[in-house]
């Protein structure tokens, strides 16, 4: 039983990790804290619902298309609404603080847009994966297997992109210092769009992965956002490996506590973990790595 819970916790944790990765990417790349990120997770799930349910596209292609569409949606929103603020400076500047409010506002707007389109009720994605798989003592529903494979695959791909390609090098350069990146001949505004789109795409994949397990509904983004934030902070804000580690810890801790203590308080445990980690290590588990960005 314990192993089952751990595997389930790891899967959910990977989804938290995907969304937290996006939050950390945006934080290091744009110097802003993006509070509407949960809504991109939610929109990703709805795009998945439409693509899979209404158009009958196969699940893997749905995953891919939802990622691309949400990524483009993110790029457009960043260009049209955020860029004016972020170009005035991020971080602890007035514009950076304005960005926090702007993010909350965008979250409310996106929620209401989704509400107008899809209504308030939960939609079942109804993906038929077939029978659960038994590995040793563990019986694992295939939906969780999908989460494991796709998330780990994406994280590995992101690692390769950032560490072993020219574009990745440019993304890291932009994250570390924009003015110097300009002097290297990097098209900084384009890279910022790419970073934002990538982050939104990752969140969308999380949404399509969670869709078959939970209902797809308008308010799913809000809870995901605060869990992913807890994950990002536990791991060390701005650190990409930290975001994944934080996601896994939050996922496993939450699932185990829900199983052995009380399932009705499931959403509290992530924050208990957050408070505990911050008491012991205020910078988060891998926070020291985030100080030197890139």
């Amino acid at each position: 039983m314990l192993m089952d819970f751990i595997v389930v916790g790891l899967s959910i944790g990977l989804v938290y990790g995907l969304v937290a990765l996006g939050i950390s990417l945006i934080f290091s790349g744009l110097d802003i804290v993006h509070f509407a990120h949960g809504e991109f997770f939610m929109f990703g799930a709805f795009f998945g619902l439409v693509l899979y349910g209404d158009f009958g596209i196969s699940y893997p292609i749905t995953l891919f298309l939802a990622m691309i569409i949400t990524g483009i949606m993110g790029v457009v929103i960043e260009r049209v609404f955020y860029r004016r603020l972020t170009s005035q400076g991020g971080g602890y500047t007035v514009a950076g603080m304005g960005m926090i409010i702007c993010g909350f506002g965008m979250a409310i707007i996106l929620q209401n847009v989704a509400f107008l389109i899809w209504g308030a009720e939960g939609h079942a994605m109804g993906v038929q994966f077939g029978m659960p798989i038994a590995v040793g003592d563990i019986t694992l529903p295939r939906s969780y297997l999908w989460i494991l494979i796709v998330s780990v695959g994406l994280m590995a791909a992101l690692h390769v992109l950032l560490k072993h390609t020219k574009t990745g090098l440019a993304i890291r350069a932009v994250a570390a210092d924009k003015d110097i990146a300009y002097l290297m001949g990097i098209n900084v505004p384009l890279m910022i769009s790419l970073i934002f789109g990538l982050a939104c795409g990752l969140a969308a994949v999380g949404g399509v992965l969670i869709g078959p397990i939970n209902y797809v509904q308008v308010e799913m983004g809000y809870l995901m956002l605060i869990k992913a934030f807890a994950a990002a902070v536990v791991g060390g804000f701005g650190s990409l490996p930290g975001a994944i580690l934080g996601g896994l810890l939050v996922g496993v801790f939450e699932t185990l506590c829900a199983a052995y203590i009380s399932g009705s308080h499931k959403d509290i445990y992530a924050f208990l973990l957050l408070i505990f980690v911050l008491m012991v290590r205020p910078t988060g588990l891998m926070g020291h790595l985030a100080k030197v960005k890139a």
Binding site: R172, A176, D179, L183, G185
Partner: protein, 244 residues
């Protein structure tokens, strides 16, 4: 090769440059001298395109570049070498160098230039897998110069290559800069506070003061010029005014 005509710019409403006129001829070294807060770095930012130019024009190779984006100016062949502190300390030496070549797509030539940079600065090759934040001040200065060369520029602008370095190290860096000019036929604009070193290296010099070109002339004349000497070789600006 580079021509600046009546350039004015600043930050917000604060005007820093009040009409700068300068010329840098091909294959030469020109020194831009001035103390702290005189507008040297602002001018570099304006040329590189990081700071928008309010009025006036900047021509590179006969083409106006003052309305272009920084990455387009790099692609045109005009590259600013940052100060040593502006390497990417969280990246390795080789990653830093490859970033310099970001705007290029000719992989084979980039490889060749990497070897060329390593030949100029063998210590960089020795430490290529280390984080650049671990290099000494002189090595970091070599790194940023090497990074500038990786862009295969027609002209480089060096931002205070002697900043925060020991005199012997400065001497070595300046020798290397001279070697780069000779062997690569590079056009160089060198922005410096170390007036004597810069004038020994350069053929022509400009002194910037309060956002204007204060003095200009042949480098050898300027070394013996009392005004320059008093302002920047030990004296204060106030003393220089007295001399005049």
């Amino acid at each position: 090769m580079l021509e600046i005509r009546g350039v004015e710019t600043g930050y917000g409403k604060l005007k820093i440059l009040r009409g700068i006129d300068m010329k840098v001829d091909a294959k030469g070294i020109v020194a831009l001298l001035g103390g702290n807060g005189t507008g040297k770095s602002t001018l570099l930012k304006a040329i590189s395109g990081i700071l928008p130019v309010w009025s006036g024009e900047i021509l590179f190779d006969g083409e106006p570049i003052h309305a272009k984006h920084p990455h387009q100016i790099v692609r045109a062949g005009l590259v600013q070498v940052t100060q040593g502190k502006d390497s990417y300390p969280g990246m390795t030496v080789e990653e830093n160098l490859m970033l310099g070549a970001y705007a290029r797509n000719d992989k084979a030539a980039v490889r060749e230039d990497l070897d060329k940079v390593y030949a100029f600065f063998p210590i960089l090759k020795e430490r290529r897998k280390q984080l650049s934040g671990l290099l000494s001040g002189g090595q970091v200065q070599m790194l940023v110069i090497g990074r500038g060369l990786m862009a295969a520029p027609k002209m480089v602008m060096l931002d205070e290559p002697s900043a925060a370095l020991a005199p012997l190290v400065v001497l070595d860096i300046f020798k290397q800069i001279n070697r780069i000019r000779k062997e690569l036929g590079m056009t160089i604009l060198i922005v410096e506070q170390n007036v004597r070193m810069a004038l020994l290296l350069a053929s022509y010099g400009y002194v910037i003061h309060d956002g204007r070109i204060h003095i200009e002339g042949q480098a050898e004349d300027m070394i013996h010029d009392d005004k320059v000497r008093h302002a920047y070789l030990g004296g204060t600006v106030a003393e220089a005014e007295n001399v005049r």
